[in-house]
Amino acid sequence: MHSQAHTFTIEGLIARAVGVEVDIRPGLPSFAIVGLAGTAVREARERVQAAILNSGFELPGRRITANLAPGDLPKTGPGLDLAIACAILAASGQLDPDALGRHALLGELALDGRVRPCRGTLAIAQATRRGGFEKLVLCPESAAEASLVSGLTVAAAASLASAVRVMRGGDGDPVPPSPVAPALASCARSGEPDLADVRGQAGAVEALVIAAAGGHNALMSGPPGTGKTMLAQRLPSILPPLRREEAIEVTRIHSILGALGEGRLLTRRPFRAPHHSITLAGLIGGARSDRPGEVVLAHRGVLFLDELAEFRREALEALRQPLEDGRVAIVRANRSAVYPTRFMLLAATNPCPCGQGGDGEGCRCSEADLARHRRKLSGPLLDRIDLTIEMPREREPLRGRAHTSSQAARERVMRAREVQARRSPERMLLNAQLDAATLRREAMPDAAGERLLDGACLSGLLSARGAHRVLRLARTIADLDGRRRVQGHHVAEAIELRAGRPLGAEIRSDVA
């Protein structure tokens, strides 16, 4: 007897269809799984046998062969258990093979026959809909996540027995109420850090709002204790929530990587803050051959690199392509993958290795230390950073006033982003992503602004690329200002933000 069940395995960020074929024929009792099965899949043998018996079904005492097709696709993870078990039941006449063929199955089996959730549900649900299956059968915990895909019928099955009941035409198990409705309700941001906690540093707060509004990459620089990390933690609170299509994209990535909390749609933008000991593979991707890195998890959100100068140089250099192209291609010996990486980079650094700042009292760094520090941060990476937020020591840190609340700042950011969305309704580009042609059309400054820009270019303050970045920044400032035309003072502010010195007053010992 022969039967086929349908399920999926995850390769990179893509769900690939896998056909599970089971053949049962006379012979010594045995159970073999073939077809590039990973360790977790080979162990499915024991789980499937126990689950079938413990669910009250019969396991034929004959020679069973399960083949996972296509044979050249590596299959990983325990999500194939349910499909293997159902295919055995169909092949042994306990389930209608035609009904089995109309369903897609996903789930890990417990020894007592329960179905457990597994990673990548959303991606698999999307693939199921594309594959034209009648229903996707999976555990109740994942059902909410899968039903985010419109046009797909999802049936929850808490156990192998329930799955068989569903395929015989019965009802699915009840789905536990989802923690939040999948609709994009405005997030209740209770208990979250708020910008109102930040005293003083008005300039830095304002610069952060500008960065958030246009999606600009920013670098904060200042001695320890001036609030760099505090400010960074409050960036998510002023970012607009994810739009639905963005949310699905992000949820899918996080679901595959197992970084999803409760199997619901993410509405907050991801905020990733890897420690500076992170490796190149951890940051970009490629660990265990194709696992996406932090830059992918930060897609549509924020990648925060605290103590930028402490990161490995190779890791920082590798950030260039993801920053520039919004995607990263990872090629390894046996596979390659392209991952989306449209994130906003926020970095923080001390102005010098000892942290006390260029001229600060008690800075003990030698010239060579400073030069090393500068070298580490100089060059291509800094060139991709649109604005520098300098955070000096406040003169009266305890008496400072809060500049703004997160609520007010977020409203400004969202207004500015609406203006940007109207500018390119089809691609929803942020100002930071505008190409040169659009920039010329939308961000040409008035005469005063042009004069300032020319002056900055002539004096060597800005390169041609730098001038474009200043224009993008000026566009954002004008958007926040509610102006259609970029004016001189917008350009002036953009030049100052762009031309900041992240490493203190320039000490040009290499002047010659």
Binding site: G203, E361, M391, E506, S509
Partner: protein, 440 residues
């Protein structure tokens, strides 16, 4: 260091041997002079005393090497006797750009050495006591000097008074600009400018001199072919091409902390005026200022912000009576006396771009900052108001972008920046490059 080198024959073997010995002992001197006050005492010792004092267990070996060196220098001299002080046949015609590295050496028996340090007595090797007793007035000077750039250039430099411009290697934009402007103005007035081979203020001073088309006098702390710090490689090449470099250490010896400090005694002896631009109290220039004062040369300082650690040195000097120098004219006044500056070249500020003719009209309209900024057209009311606010402490972008009249202020900021009237300080603070009076 091979003693047979052709170009070392302008010096007597004793002095060359002493120079080599000091180089050999460099690491030991570094250790012994970890307390800076002992350095000059050490350098006052004669060769035997030096070996005895810091030779340690290798005394015998050092003594032998020293004797061998002296013998080798003697042999070389006998083979081709050239009187000390007579210039070697130069491989290149004077005025041409030196094609490669060209070192000449002269010792204290050379007339040029006397001319360099004419007012000072070189303490003879008659024992440490005399040397120590007299060192307040005559810091022990190097026995042999290694020179790059040729005698001609050096002699021409010595025809004018020399001004040493010194300061921290970690200088601010302000300090570097002021140093460059001072050096440019003085060099254009025909005054020689000397400094150490170091980053920051010193490098800025050399560049200022080069900009004015003059030759900087550079005192190197190591061998004159040693580019250290390496970041100054390009400056080193320009100095080799267009300037004059001297050092007391033979070629190939890397500078150490002691030799950096020791090089300041040469500057203190050479200069008629020592100007400290930006320095902490133990920074570059403070030793030279101290020594120059004890030998009776003028010491001046350029004021800075009282809150900045880099202004501590100059301000301490001024408290002790150093003159305040804010522009090249001030330095010329100190050298020649007030009112005689026009005769001495009439330069000063007028050498800086776009200001020709302004300085000669005297104090009434002279800028107090000495930078090469171009005021161009008159500043608007907004720009003046902004300069005033920056001067009053509202000096960060946050102050300006969130203060009153935001848009007009930002525009004014942009314009000031475009005109080069603002520099970027620490922590995002702006520093005006022009005094408010002058801007008006």
């Amino acid at each position: 260091m091979s003693p047979e080198r052709q170009d070392e024959r302008h010096a007597c073997s004793d002095c060359l041997a002493r120079s080599s010995l000091i180089a050999l002992l460099s690491a030991r001197i570094e250790h012994a002079a970890s307390d800076p006050s002992r350095l000059l005492d050490l350098l006052c010792l004669d060769e035997q005393q030096l070996i005895a004092a810091i030779g340690g267990r290798k005394r015998k070996e050092l003594q032998q090497r020293h004797e061998a060196n002296r013998a080798a220098f003697e042999r070389a001299q006998k083979a081709a006797p050239i009187l000390p002080g007579v210039a070697a046949p130069s491989a290149h015609s004077p005025g041409a750009v030196a094609p490669a590295f060209e070192e000449t050496t002269f010792c204290r028996h050379d007339p040029l050495h006397r001319r360099l340090f004419g007012r000072l007595r070189f303490s003879e090797r008659s024992g440490a006591e005399e040397a120590l007793g007299s060192r307040r007035h005559a810091p022990l000077l190097p026995a042999a000097l290694h020179l790059q750039g040729g005698f001609d250039r050096l002699q021409r430099l010595l025809e004018t008074p020399l001004v040493a411009i010194l300061g921290a290697a970690r200088a601010s934009d302000y300090g570097m600009e002021m140093a460059a402007a001072l050096a440019r103005g003085l060099a254009a007035s025909g005054v020689g400018v000397a400094s150490r081979f170091a980053g920051g203020v010193c490098a800025a001073a050399h560049l200022g001199v080069l900009e004015a088309g003059a030759r900087p006098l550079v005192v190197m702390a190591g061998g004159i072919d040693v580019r250290k710090p390496a970041s100054l490689g390009r400056l080193h090449r320009r100095i080799v091409d267009d300037g004059v470099a001297i050092s007391e250490l033979p070629r190939g010896f890397a500078p150490r902390r002691w030799s950096e400090r020791a090089s300041e005694r040469i500057l203190a002896a050479l200069a008629s005026l020592v100007i400290v631009v930006e320095a902490d109290t133990d920074d570059i220039g403070m030793i030279a200022a101290d020594l120059a004062r004890t030998r009776g040369a003028r010491v001046a300082a350029l004021p800075g912000r009282v809150t900045s650690p880099r202004a501590r040195g100059p301000h301490a000097l001024m408290r002790e009576g150093a003159a305040l120098v804010a522009c090249p004219q001030d330095a010329l006044d100190l050298l020649y006396g007030v009112g005689e500056t026009d005769a001495a070249g009439g330069a000063g500020m007028s050498e800086t771009a776009g200001e020709t003719g302004r300085a000669s009209t005297g104090n009434a309209t002279r800028g107090t900052d000495g930078t090469a900024t171009d005021l161009g057209s008159r500043l608007t009311r907004q720009q003046l108001a902004l300069l005033e606010r920056i001067g009053a402490g509202e000096d960060t972008l946050a102050h300006i972008s969130q203060g009153p009249e935001r848009e007009a202020s930002m525009l004014a900021l942009g314009e000031l920046r475009r005109k080069g009237l603002l520099a970027h300080g620490d922590g995002g603070r702006y520093l005006p490059r022009v005094s408010l009076d002058r801007a008006r």
